[in-house]
Symmetry: C2
Amino acid sequence: DPAAGREKAAMCQVCHGLDGIGKNPEVPHIAGESEIYLMAQLRAFRSGERQHQQMSIIAQSLSDEDIRDLADYYASIKFEVTVPDY
Amino acid sequence: DPAAGREKAAMCQVCHGLDGIGKNPEVPHIAGESEIYLMAQLRAFRSGERQHQQMSIIAQSLSDEDIRDLADYYASIKFEVTVPDY
């Protein structure tokens, strides 16, 4: 449920923004990422399979439903890319 | 050097594309990600700090220069988002 995910994204927005664009260079953009990838990363941070100072702590508080809603929300953000010519 | 990175991205494009858009739902979009984040992830896969079936293998072959060039290239892709209303 992306709308529920948007509510829950209040805890993510400091670093990821509600627009899914990283707010500092160490933070990835997650706008438009696939739900499968986002859920896999949140589960990995929660289980410890993937480690990160903040994410490992935040992920402990996430239920399976939270993970699904947050992934739904960020995956629902549309994006366009422009590949430069080299 | 993004142009050199584009050449080297030939080994990445099967999964990540030259446009930085994941070619299957398990692959993240890396278009427009910050160089700092991309380099940190490639180093983590190379050192084993982060694990992934393909990335852990591929990253072993990357030199520091490769990592910088690939990060330069993918970071140079323009990335614009449209946040849906909920």
